[in-house]
Subunit: 251 residues, 4 copies
């Protein structure tokens, strides 16, 4: 089982309207500050937040209790001119847990309404304390193949194409995939997934996005931060062996 | 003419390796802090930064001098454990200006090398002081059609699909398009573009991403912040008229 | 105005079931024979049939009367163990005419039912006798860039990718696009379309499907066969001038 | 092992140029007649031809000797104003066999040259006499979900989108997939492939092309015609059980 928290800024669209028209830069700064704030809260207890669509975020929150979630919500209100709501979901796959997290929050009212500071979850025993499995996927020689040779915007479109392939194909095996900057994709995996199950998607990516090749480090840890830590060790080892392997696992 | 600054964190991959394996959350916070810092610097002089791929950013920098760019670079070094380099490009379209900005920076050395704090530009007279044209595009009734009804990750994939359509199609008319959170796309347009030239891309989006429909507010201003400000006024007016119009322009 | 005929083999799925399990090759031969038969019927009166999804075909039928359509249907029944139904639609664009052609036929009953030999149309005066505008689009140096260097199946996937871009983008301006073998795309255009309106789609194709470049010959004729004939003259002239032009028109 | 024949009409582009400008309908008829002719030749010995890009075709030719291939080529020349060349390839997957078939033919000269009636193959013992594995995939309730409700061209674009997903994803496991009309996809599989290996691609299709669902019948036979025959039996049984199963196999 895995636990996913879906974080939604309350009534964000109407709020930004009230910031006046001269606001785009202020919105971007506010969104980044909220992200940093939430990231630090979740990190303290071993969780990790993905910024996703900025006003809607996803956290892997294994081991983080309802009470702590409530504290995050309360604390955020004290630090920002706006509030957030959260839905906590659990499931045998990150995708299913995310779906539950969305369902419980959606049931509490519209994202653009008077709904404020909701913490939604269903009757499961929380928090889930299972270990977390993560794959850190990156593109071999990305700097040499892309950054150092093409105009940035071309690379950026190509990255987004590749990201879409990963998201679409990985979700068929219950994996949530997030772009974390550079050429780095963090893939939250079902605890029971065999690492080899990542290969078909990686091959599809490589076919569709030539000449890019992928490698993946897979880590298992008590929480997502430890799991990524181990995945990073694998990725580094693959890199130091000149990317001859495509996949390494550290349980 | 328009002026685009391409911002690259120096040697970021190797730097993160030195942060130890237990680092993903620290990287995300650092990237957000750098973004906020740069956003504030550019905002002060009427510029706007798009986070793009996080370690590589794009700014619309009309009116911002070489000297000010140099100050941003120096100031960032004092505030962070890492440095950035920048390339300034100009062109008749944002796409062409971006290409030049990449070209001049790439010519100064690899993103993963000892290259540090480079400010690259070619012999044009800088800064460009032209007015800026921007389209703010969003999806009609996105909250009702997506946020309030579907699991978030489904919406997120759909958004990324739509974003890709916008990027690919808009670039054929020289437009750079950035996702700025929620359902908001900021499109930096060629100064000479007719607003109607946005329509074919919007129609392509609507065909490929049913049932979503787009609207666009187009603004022209002395700098990008003012241009977006006017685009926001248009967008608000379309919204208040129940999205019956698809396009409004404020010069 | 343009006239489009939508041709549907009646109850084809269930019919093939009755052919026994050892049938796939027989189906393919039958479908090709039906296509040849219909092609010859429509050709005689200046029409052209596109095989499309094989059991559902599209014809440009300007100038072909209801009576002649009825004769085609009757004659086909005498020559084949199966029948076809047709819907005739008209519109200011080929896309709209196709939609009407589908609507009138769908209204007569399901494709898998006892419905047989239907000829559907609405109250417009038929046939439409307007001239027809067609673009013949092909890929520059396709043989050298693809056929002679890559495995066929790779080229075939790439062609299908490119075809999809053309279909999706052209339909936003009412154009129906059909792959006619090799690297040839026949694009049936609205009579009032400016040839330059084809350019954004061609640019989108070229961006997405590097290194392929497109050229287009545009012809206008009393019927589609004459229009394609003129489009071919244009295409040949572009080719003989080493593809330096992208678009030529012969009215 | 599997044996694939890649069939190429010799010098087809230049030949069509000589047909005069008023030719598109004649080309389409000629291509269909060549297809029927080749289909019948290969069928006689248990092979099956896929029309693919019309002037370039693919046949599954297990059990068909070099001598018979030569006879097909000679016989075609006597019946048509044009000739074909063929490359025979073998491999552990259809994809690899296709690549070899392309390689040996490409080595004999350009598709647009004086090269004529080439039969290319490498030193392997031919023909391959292994059994053939095929999946027949179709879309559940396609007539009700698509044909009977939407304009044809919309369905046709959607079908092409779906086909592309199948081609791209199946080729990562060595499968060649061909659209054979209606909603039918014939997938030529590696002899050693586990039928379950088809599932991830089918799930990807279902995710990307909602609300469509796929079923697959998998058959193994002495040649492709027998294999499809068995696949059809499976597909029928799934259909008669109201598509509750997704996959059935008959060895």
């Amino acid at each position: 089982m895995i636990q996913i928290t879906y974080i939604q800024i309350d009534n964000f669209g109407p709020f930004t309207e009230e910031m006046g028209n001269y606001r785009e830069h202020k919105i971007q700064i506010l969104l980044s500050e909220i992200f940093i704030f939430l990231q630090k809260q979740f990190n303290r207890y071993g969780g990790l937040v993905f910024s996703a669509s900025k006003d809607n975020m996803i956290a892997v929150s294994n081991g983080i209790s309802i009470k702590h979630h409530q504290l995050f919500i309360n604390k955020l209100e004290k630090n920002f001119p706006i509030t957030v709501s959260m839905g906590i979901g659990t499931g045998n796959t990150p995708l299913n847990a995310q779906i539950e997290a969305s369902d419980v929050l959606i049931a509490k009212g519209s994202a653009q309404s008077s709904r404020k500071k909701v913490l939604a979850y269903n009757g499961h025993k929380l928090p889930i304390k299972n270990s977390v499995k993560v794959a850190h996927v990156d593109i071999n020689f990305y700097t040499k193949l892309a950054t150092d040779v093409n105009p940035f915007y071309k690379n950026y479109i190509d990255l987004n194409r590749g990201y879409l392939t990963l998201m679409e194909s990985f979700q068929t095996i219950g994996v949530l995939c997030f772009f974390n900057g550079g050429d780095n994709f963090i893939c939250v995996c079902p605890p029971s997934m065999e690492p080899d199950d990542l290969i078909p998607t990686m091959k599809l990516f490589e076919f569709k996005h030539k000449p890019w090749k992928l490698k993946a480090g897979v880590g298992v840890g008590d929480n997502i931060l430890e799991a990524i830590s181990k995945a990073n060790i694998c990725l580094k080892e693959i890199r130091e062996n000149h990317n001859t392997k495509q996949l390494m696992v550290l349980n």
